[in-house]
Symmetry: C2
DNA sequence: TCGGCAATTGGCCAGGTGACCAATAGCGGT
DNA sequence: ACCGCTATTGGTCACCTGGCCAATTGCCGA
């Protein structure tokens, strides 16, 4: 009576339905928070009964974890396209510039919130924790590859690309830690830090990464 | 029947009882997480009925917020004693050294978890959010004072103590972001970053802050 | 000493959660 | 064309939460 699609029951291929559920859960997690990923919430996002979600994910933890992975993997692909070379004629420097411009934008706010959310929730949910660790490593490796590409062409000067990538990510995560609290205040020194650390780690002149 | 103190009802002064409740809640929040601060959990921590906690804190949000403030304020006083000069014959440099040694220790882990916890929970709880913002400013100001004291005696060289304090805190918060996930891996580049940033911001030679 | 105020009790409620299950109905294979 | 597998339904269950309230009882002041 309350559902708009009352009566119409559409049956989909298991893999397709499963993917659909994960995507819906990822959207909920990204916009409202991972703790809002409940069987019922995801269910009426899809116009479906809670039991169906429960059928594909007998344990809700698994859905939360997969939703997180789905969201962050997609985001990373948007920030730093895979592969040693970018799609067009891009240098590691221009890719890195674009990366810093993107993460400074307000569209990245939800992603910052998601990471914060996931890192805290990992305290209680081992399954999620494993996925978060995997994604942390993935993001770090992606940056490391970019740095390695840049040092190869003498654009960057960096003895240890892995350590540099770790430190850049620490600075980024530190900056986005305040997304739910002091986001409005003290923005200048905060948002600058990640870029500054990157420039220092890669032997770039100050403000090299500031603009496109 | 289930409570060990069944029958014995001790009546305390309102302010004392209230403080007792906040302290118990702070302990629960610090060790188990802020979402574990429930009326019942705090109540049987004190061997008391849930309704009593509910009486002093009609809204649970307020208790959570006050518990967070209580815990972090106590921790800050342990890390950086108030006042321009330390208790003994301490220089700003030795105080800062002790600070970095303390936050690198495992005793600080629960505090890192608490900050992460609070920053995420602030997304949903405005009351907590206000308290977190206050504490962020307090911690920042405390560090700023220390830096200012150091620049006064030419120990530190720093044009903008406030911006330096902000950046040092960003680095610290970035380092502690992984406390629930990759705490074990990649520790070296991570834990180094905060100290390195501080040394650079204050014009200190590398590794100056590494040991006592 | 004793009365009354308020701290404290102990129980209630509605709402939300994950997990579970029998019954139904859509769809692919024969 | 139809039959069987299974995706999907729709409901139930126990559990835990915060908020609420009348009754009780400890303690302070008169």
């Amino acid at each position: 009576m309350t559902s708009r699609d009352s009566g119409t029951r559409t049956r989909k291929a298991p893999t397709e339905r499963r993917q659909e559920i994960v995507r819906a859960a990822a959207l909920v997690g990204l916009t409202e928070g991972l703790e809002c990923i409940t069987l019922r919430r995801v269910a009426d996002e899809l116009g479906v009964q809670p039991g169906l979600v429960s059928h594909y994910f007998p344990a809700a933890d698994t859905l939360v974890a997969e939703a997180f992975t789905s969201a962050t993997r997609a985001e990373l692909d948007g920030l730093l396209p895979e592969g040693p070379a970018g799609p067009g004629h891009e240098t590691p420097l221009s890719t890195l510039r674009r990366f810093f411009v993107l993460i400074a934008g307000t569209e990245f706010d939800n992603v910052s919130k998601l990471w914060l959310n996931a890192r805290h929730l990992s305290r209680y949910r081992p399954v999620l924790r494993d996925h978060v660790v995997d994604q942390e490593l993935l993001w770090c490796r992606r940056i490391e590859q970019l740095i390695a590409a840049g040092t190869g062409t003498r654009l960057f000067h960096c003895a240890n690309p892995w350590a540099a990538a770790v430190r850049i990510l620490v600075a980024i995560d530190g900056s986005s830690a305040y997304i739910n609290t002091s986001a409005g205040a003290r923005t200048d020194p905060i948002s600058d830090l990640a870029r500054t650390v990157a420039e220092r780690e890669l032997g770039l002149a100050p403000d090299t990464l500031a603009t496109l």
